[in-house]
Symmetry: C2
Subunit: 108 residues, 2 copies
DNA sequence: ATTACATATAACCAATTGGTTATATGTAAA
DNA sequence: TTTACATATAACCAATTGGTTATATGTAAT
């Protein structure tokens, strides 16, 4: 049971995930994209690994990170579901709103 | 920009929100529903207030808390959008994953 | 005015987090 | 086999979190 709130609860980690969305990246590439130290990045990567949002593999001296898209989707889905429960009735109209697209408030 | 990850990142706070979903509650009622101290509950309420997930009002000597549905709706909408982006950007690799990976539970 | 009760606040504690610097280790290239 | 580079790890720090107990404050009821 990965703690999605922990994993996604930091903006640096969310930025890392955005990077990995574009394709697998080495730790070096990730470190270079930020202004914080390599150990700091590594800690974020470790948290994402612990929560299984990303995977690690070795390529020579490089460590390659990749998104576990299915888990990330599941994570967001979990949060959405929780919020859905809170919203209850309001949700139906919201769902319609979202599915039909922004602000199409006029007749079809 | 309320930090919904922070707000929802604790199970006590999620339980409080579940309570408020059933209707507005006084702090006293909330405290009685948990096994932790009044100041601990108050801290959770403060975090939810900071992130504007709930509102506070005064009724005599009671403090009444209520859900901010609009903020939750906003968070919900944001997350949905993020998932859509995920799907768009990585459709190809997702397709590959599904085709070659664990989710291929049917024939060929 | 006193008392009782709901809430607020202060001081404390342990664990976690997000960062640092310094240094060790592993791998590749010279 | 050195050297260079990518990564890992250790020790440290400040801030935050989730809890505690003790006490102060505000409001209502007696």
């Amino acid at each position: 049971m990965p703690d999605v709130y922990r994993a996604l609860g930091d903006s640096t980690r969310r930025r890392i995930l955005n990077m990995l969305k574009q394709g697998n990246k080495s730790q070096k590439e990730i470190v270079e994209a930020f202004d914080i130290s390599q150990p700091a990045i590594k800690k974020h990567l470790n948290i994402l690994l612990e929560e299984r949002i990303i995977s690690e593999s070795l390529n020579g001296k490089y460590r390659i990170y990749s998104l576990n898209l299915n888990i990330l989707q599941f994570a967001y889905h979990e949060m959405l579901q929780y919020i859905e429960e809170l919203l209850d009735d309001q949700l139906v109209s919201l769902k319609n709103y979202v599915e039909k697209g922004e602000l199409r408030d006029e007749q079809d």
